[in-house]
Amino acid sequence: MKKYILMFLAGCMAFAQTWAQQTISGKITASDTQHPIPGASVRVKGTNRGTKTDNMGAFAISVGHADTLAVSFVGYNTQFFAPPFSAVLNITMQLSDAKLEEVVVSTGYQTLPKERVVGSFTVVDQQLLNRSVSTNLLDRLRDVVPGFSFNNVGSSSMSIRGQSTIYGNAEPLIVLDNFPFEGSMQDINPNDVESITILRDAAAASIWGARAGNGVIVITTKKGKLNQALQVSLNSNFTMVDVPDLYAGNKLSASDYIDIEKKLFSQGYYDASQATGYEALTPVVEMLYKKKADPSLATEVDAEMERLKGLDVRRDFSRYIYRKGINQQQALNLKGGGGKNSYYLSLGYDHNRGDMVGNELSRVSVAGNNTFKFLKDRLELATAGNFSVHTTVNNAVGTNLSNASAGGVIYPYAQLADEQGNHLPIIKNYRSSFISQASSNGLLDWSYVPLDEPDLVDMSTKRRTARLSGSLAYHLWKGLKASVRYQFINMETTGRNERSLESYYSRDLINRFTQVSGTTLVRPVPLGGILDFSQQSMTDHGFRTQLDFNRNWKEKHELTAMAGIEIRSTRTESANHRYYGYDSEYAQNTFVDYTNNALPFYYDSSRKGQIPFADALGLYNDRFRSYYANISYGFLSRYIFNASARLDQSNLFGVKTNQKGVPLWSMGIAWNVDKENFYFLKSVLPYLKVRTTYGYNGNVDKTVSAYTTAAFAGNRYNMPYATIINPPNPNLKWERVAIWNVGLDFGFKGNRISGSAEYYHKKGMDLIGDMPMPASSGVLQYRGNIASTTGSGIELAIRTQNLQGKLKWQSDFVFANQKENITDYFVTATSSQYLQSGLYLPLKGKPLYSLYSYSWAGLDPDTGDPQGYLNGVASKDYTAIIREYTPEKLIFNGSIRPTTFGSLRNTISYGDISFSFNIAYRLGYVFRKNALVYGANLGLLSNNGDYAVRWQNPGDEVHTQVPSVPAAANNNRDMFYRYSDVLVDKADNIRLQDIRFDYMLSDRNWLPFQQVQFYVYSANLGILWKRTRFDVDPDIQYGNYPVSIAFGIKVNFK
C-alpha cells in the first residue's frame, strides 16, 4: 500500500516538474582498480537531489530531460552527463590529477593534506607496505623510500639521510600513534599499520625537537571510520626461507687444512698443547702423534687422513644444523563505525621456524581502538589497547663449534653425524684421551655432541607488551580544539637460558671445578642444570596536552596552529640471576661459593678460578619535558608559510642546561605554482609546487653526563677510593643539525609522470666528540659538544604511468645521493687504528665511515712476499713502510656506506593480475676483502680459501696477489697485506630485491567474499651486477642473503 502511495506521489511530482521523468541505473567502477566504487555521489546538477552508490557500486536515480547528472568521488574526476540518457549508465571514473595531493601526512602531532606541506615527507601507504611480506614492519621500508637505508656497517641499523652524529644515538626516532615508541618494533603487527610517514628535513621533524636529528619514522595504525559498514579482512601467508649458502664464505678446504696441520705438526706447533695432556687436538693432529709414536701405523693413518680430506663439515651443517625457515603470518581485522563512534579490532599470529634447528619465534598480538563523539560531536574520546606476546627460542648450536687448535673455527673435516644419522661427538675443548680418563675418575661425560644440544637447552625470551592510550579532544570554539592524550606502555621481558645437566655447558662447568681426592669427588659447581634468568621491566608514560586552531577566512586565508606540552618518563629496571644445580622438575637450585677465587681446575690444578657470577641489577630513567608550537598560514592556497619551535628538557643534562633552554626551530615556505592565475602550463603540468625549509633538529648522546661521575676503584689502606670518570660539564647540550631543504613536486597531465625532487644541505653542530684539553683544566681529553659535520644530498622519487588502460605499466624510481664529511674533530687516532677499526673513527675532512689502506706494490716475483712503497720504491721493509704511514698519508679509498642508492620498481597489471619487481642499487662505496692472514700458524686460524691460490712458485704473481707462506711468522707482513689496497674494491652492486605476483578476484557473484587476493612474494633474488673483481658479495662476504618465497591469501568479507 505504502509503495503505491509513494509511486503516486512521485508521479505527481514528476508530472508537476517535467513532462517526462526517467529512472536510470548503472554501476560505477574505478579506471585504475577496475573495482566498483561504493559511496560515489550521483546527483542532479544544481539541485540537492541525488544518491550514493551501494556496496556494489550500483545506483538508480530518476532524472528529468533537462537535468544534468554529476558523478563524483573523492580522488576521481567528476563527470557530467547530459540528456538524453540511456536506461543503463555504466560509468568508469578516471583518477583525478589532484589524487597526488590528497595524500595525508602525519607528523605525529597533526595530520595535514599534502598541499599544505612545506617540508620533506615521504608517505608509504598501506598498499606499498603490504607489497612485501615480513614479520617486522620496518623491513617493508627497504628500497622504497628515497634517502632511507638499512646499514650493514655503523652505529645504527638504519639511517635517513645519512648520519649526523658521531657518538650519539644514530637511529631515527620512531613514533607510533603520536608518541615516541620505546618498545620493540618486533611487537608491532604489520597488518595493523595504516601508513608510515618518513620525516626528513627540519620543518618535517623539528616538531620532534631534540630527538629528530636522525629523521623520524611516524607509524599510524589502522582505525575505524565513522559511517562505515563493518569490514572484515583476513590475511594469511607463509614464507619459506632458503638455507644460506655455506660455500659463499671462501673457507679453507679440508685438504688444505690437513696439509697446514701436517706442516705445523712438523714444526712442533702442537707439542705444547699435547704436553698438557688435556688441550684439544684435532683428529688429524692426534693421528700424527700416533704415527710418530708408532711408525708402523703410517699407511693406516695416511689412508685415514686421505679419507678425511674428502669430508666437508658444511655438508653436515646444511643437513643437520640448517633447515629451511618457514614463517607463517595470520591476521584478522575488523573495522567500522556508526554516526557517533568507530572501532577497530585485530588479531595477529606469527610463527617463524628459524633457519637453524632449535630456533623459532612467535608473536600473538591483539589490537583494538574506539572513537566516540559526544556533545554534538564537540567532544571526541579515543581509546586504544594493544597487547602482544613475543617469544623467541634460540636453542641452535650455531657453527662455531670447536676450540681445537683453531680459535673457535671448526675443523672442516668434522663429522656431526654418521651415515645413519646418529649424532657424533666432535673435539671441542679437551682431548679425547683426557675425556675418557676423566670419565674413569668419575667425572661427567665430557664429550661434546653438537647435534644433541638443541634438545638439552631452553634458551628463550618472552616479552609481553601492553600499550594503552586514551585521548580526549574538545572543540572549544570555531576551529579551536583542546586535547589531552596519554599513553602507557609496559613491557615485561623474561629471559631464560636453561642448560640442563646433560648439556655440554653444564657438564663442562661442573667438571672443570670438580676435585678428586681418592674416590670421593668434590663438586663446587653442584650437579644439576644451570639457569640464567633475566627480567626486564620497562614502563613508559607519555602525556601531552595540546591546543589546535584551524580556520579559514573568506576562502583566502587559512591558519593552522598548535601548541602543547609533553611529558615523558621511561623507567627500565633489570635483574639477572644465575641458579646452579637447577632441577627443572622441582624448580630447585643449590647455593655455590662465589667468594673462593682459587678453586683449582680439574684439568690443571695449578690454574685456579672462581665460579662464574652472573648476577646484575640495573635501573635506568629517561625523562623529558617538552614545549612545542607550530603555525601554518596559507594564502589563497598558493603560498604556505610554516614555522615550528620546540624546547626540550631532560634528566640527562641537569638543571643548568635545561634552564638555558635552546629551542630547536624551523621555518618553511611552499608555493603552489599551479594555483597561480598566470600559470600557463596547466594543461601539460597541472601540478607544480616548490618549497623550501630551514631549521634545526636535535640529537641525544646518553653516554655523557652533565654531572661529575665517579666510580669506586678499589681499596687502599682499607679506605675505598674513587676515580672521576666524567668531569662535570654544565655546558653539555643537545647536538644540533641544521638542515636546509629545497623540494619540487610535480605531476604531468593524467599523472603520466609525477614525483618529487629534493636537495638538502645539513650541518651537524655541537656534536659530541673528543677533544684534547689543556691539562690545567683538570682533564687531558674531554667528550663534549665540539665536533661538526656537513652533508648534502639529492633525492628523487618519480612515478611514471607508462601504459594506461587494460594493460597497465607503472614505474617507480627512487634515487638518493649523499655526501658527508667531518668538518671539526680534534683527536687524531693512529694509522693502524684507522685501518683496523672495523667500524668507524672520526678523521677530520673524511666521511665518518671510511676505508683506508696502504699502497700495494705487487708480490715479489722471487719470493711471493707482499711489497709496499718506501720513498717511492718497492720495499719489503714492512716495519718502515707501516711507520711511514701517518693518518694523512693513508690511502683514502672511499666510504664504506653506499653514497648513491635507490630502486626501480615496475608494476604491470592486466585485469585481475598484477606483477611487480623491485631492483635495488647501491653505488659509490668500497669494501675490503677478507685477507688470508698467516699469523704464527700458516694461515690455519685465518681459515681463508685464498690459501689455495697463494703464490707458490715464481710466475704465480701473474695470476695471484695472495702472498706466499712466510718463512717465519711476521706480523707486519700480515698487517701490510691485510690492509693494502690490493684487497680493496668498489662494492657497487645492483640486486633483484624482490618480485610479487597478485591475482585479485572481486565482486564476482559466485564469490562468497567481496574480494579475494592471492599473492606470491619472493625476496633476495640475487645480484644482477656487481663492480668488484672479487668473487664475493660485497655486502656480506661470509655468506649470502637467502632467497625467500611467500605465498599468501587476503580475503575481504562482505
Binding site: R625, A775, S777
Partner: protein, 459 residues
C-alpha cells in the same frame, strides 16, 4: 556552561603539568652512576692514589744525579727527561704535555670537585668532623700541587719581585671550561699559604698513622718547606719547630741492613720519619741502573757515615745508584719527613745567629746516620757562616732525590755566597747552568699556551 567546565578542566591539566614536576628532571639516568654527593664519596675521591704523586723532572734537572754516557742519557727514558737533564731550551720536542704538569692539575681538579661539592652539603653537628677533615684534606692536596707546580714552572720566590714575576695558573673551580689566567708569583704563594692556614684549622688528626692522608703536622711540614723556599726563615723556623715538637722521631740507620738493595723498609720509614706520603711520578730515570748519584755527593760521605752504604749502590763502573728510598722499593720518595724538618730548623737557627741550637739539630740528625760502633765526632761551628755551610752540605747529602734541591738552588742562587753554576759533561760537550738562569723555570706545555693564551716562560 559545559564549555566553561571543560575549559577549567583543561586549564587544570596544564597547571598540573607545569607545577607538580619539581625534581622530575633531576633523577639519575643510570642508577649505577656515582655522582659524588655524599661526604663518603668525596673522601673516596681524595683517597685516590693519584693524590700521592709528586713531580720528578726538576729532580733530574738539579744536581742530585749525574749520567756519564750517551747510553745512560738514553736510559733516562724520555725526551723530556733528557732535555731536562741537559737544560735544553726546548724541553718538549713537540711532546704535547708531561706528567709534572698534568698530574698536579689532575690532583687540583679532584680537590676542586670535592670543594665545589662540599658547598652543596650542609655542615651539621653530626657530620662536622668529617666535613671539616674532607675540606682540610682537599685544601692541603691542592696547596701541595700548586706549590710543586710553582717549583717547576715559576721562578724562585723573591719578595721584592714576586708581585711582577709570573706564577702559575690557579685553578680554583671544577669547571673544566673555565678560562684561566696566569697569576703572579705573589698571588700563587698567597693562595697556597692562605689555604694551608685554613686546612690546619680543619684537619683533626695531629699525626696521621696512614700518612697518605694529610695531618696537622703535615700542614706544618709543608709550610716549613714552603717558607724556607721563599726565604722566610722566621716562619720556616716556627713551623719546623712545631713539627719536630709533635713528631721528633728519626730513623737510626744502624738498624738497617747495609748490604740490602732496599735497606729502608716501608714500615721503618713510616713508623719513624714519614710525615706525609708522596712518591715521584713513575719516570724511567729513577729505575735506570746508569743514573748515578752525582760524584761530588758520592765522594762527600765520611767512611763512617752510614748513608754511604745505605743510600748508595756501587755498580762497579763508576755509577752509584740511589737505594735509600723511604718507599721500600725503587719508587722515589718525595714526601715530607722529620729529617728535612731538622735540617730546616737547623738552617733557620743558624741564619738567626743561634749557632748552638743549629748545631744541636744537625747533630741530632747526624747521630742517627753515624756508625754507632765508632764514636761520633760532634759537629761544631765557630760562627753563623760556618754553621750554615755545614748545614747546607749535610742537607744536600741527606735529601738526595727528595725533590727539595731544585727549590734550594733557586733560593741559594739569590745569595752570591752560595750561588753555583751547574755543569754537565757528556761526550766531550760541556753544558752549564749559571745561577738564576732563565732555564731554572720549565716552559709551559704548548697546549696551554695555544688554548689559554698564557705567557710562556722565556728560557
Amino acid at each position: 556552561m559545559k564549555t566553561i567546565k571543560i575549559v577549567i578542566i583543561l586549564c587544570l591539566f596544564f597547571a598540573t603539568v607545569l607545577s607538580c614536576q619539581k625534581g622530575f628532571l633531576e633523577v639519575k639516568p643510570d642508577q649505577h652512576l656515582l655522582v659524588p654527593k655524599k661526604l663518603s664519596d668525596l673522601q673516596a675521591i681524595l683517597n685516590n692514589t693519584i693524590m700521592n704523586y709528586g713531580p720528578g723532572y726538576h729532580i733530574i734537572s738539579a744536581d742530585d744525579y749525574q749520567v756519564y754516557t750517551t747510553s745512560a742519557l738514553t736510559a733516562l727514558g724520555s725526551a723530556v727527561a733528557r732535555n731536562a737533564y741537559l737544560w735544553k731550551k726546548d724541553l718538549y720536542e713537540n711532546i704535547a704535555t708531561m706528567g709534572d704538569w698534568d698530574r698536579p692539575y689532575q690532583q687540583i681538579f679532584y680537590t676542586n670537585v670535592v670543594l665545589d661539592e662540599l658547598k652543596n652539603i650542609e655542615r651539621t653537628a653530626v657530620n662536622a668532623p668529617d666535613y671539616d677533615n674532607t675540606k682540610g684534606y682537599a685544601l692541603f692536596f691542592r696547596s701541595m700541587a700548586f706549590y710543586q707546580l710553582a717549583i717547576s714552572f715559576a721562578a724562585g720566590y723573591n719578595k721584592e719581585t714576586a708581585q711582577q714575576v709570573p706564577g702559575i695558573p690557579l685553578k680554583l673551580s671544577s669547571d673544566i671550561n673555565e678560562q684561566l689566567k696566569r697569576h703572579t708569583l705573589k698571588e700563587t704563594y698567597a693562595q697556597i699559604l692562605a689555604d694551608l692556614g685554613i686546612a690546619k684549622t680543619l684537619i683533626s688528626n695531629d699525626v696521621e698513622t696512614q700518612p697518605v692522608k694529610p695531618s696537622r703536622i703535615a700542614v706544618d711540614a709543608l709550610l716549613a718547606r714552603i717558607y724556607l723556599s721563599m726565604g722566610d726563615y722566621e716562619s720556616a723556623l716556627s713551623y719546623s719547630n712545631k713539627c719536630i715538637l709533635s713528631k721528633p722521631m728519626l730513623l737510626d740507620f744502624n738498624v738497617l741492613s747495609k748490604t740490602s738493595t732496599r735497606p729502608i723498609t716501608f714500615n721503618q720509614a713510616l713508623s719513624t720519619e714519614v710525615i706525609f706520603w708522596q712518591w715521584m711520578n713513575d719516570y724511567q730515570f729513577a729505575a735506570s741502573s746508569s743514573t748515578s748519584v752525582a760524584a761530588e755527593i758520592v765522594t762527600s760521605y765520611n767512611a763512617n757515615d752510614l748513608r754511604k752504604t745505605i743510600f748508595l749502590r756501587d755498580r762497579n763502573n763508576g755509577v752509584f745508584t740511589f737505594k735509600g728510598n723511604y718507599t721500600g722499593d725503587s719508587f722515589i720518595f718525595t714526601g715530607l719527613a722529620t729529617d728535612e724538618m731538622y735540617l730546616i730548623r737547623a738552617e733557620c737557627y743558624a741564619r738567626d745567629g743561634k749557632v748552638t741550637e743549629a748545631m744541636r739539630d744537625l747533630n741530632s740528625l747526624m747521630l742517627k746516620r753515624w756508625n754507632n760502633t765508632v764514636s761520633y765526632p760532634e759537629i761544631t761551628a765557630a760562627n753563623t757562616e760556618e754553621a750554615l755551610t755545614k748545614i747546607l752540605a749535610e742537607r744536600r747529602k741527606e735529601l738526595i732525590t727528595r725533590g727539595t734541591r731544585w727549590a734550594d738552588l733557586k733560593r741559594l742562587n739569590q745569595e752570591t755566597r752560595y750561588a753555583v753554576t751547574l755543569k754537565r759533561v757528556l761526550d766531550g760537550v760541556e753544558y752549564a747552568l749559571p745561577p738564576n738562569d732563565a732555564r731554572y723555570v720549565f716552559p709551559f706545555p704548548q697546549t696551554e699556551i695555544d688554548r689559554n693564551g698564557f705567557p710562556q716562560n722565556g728560557r
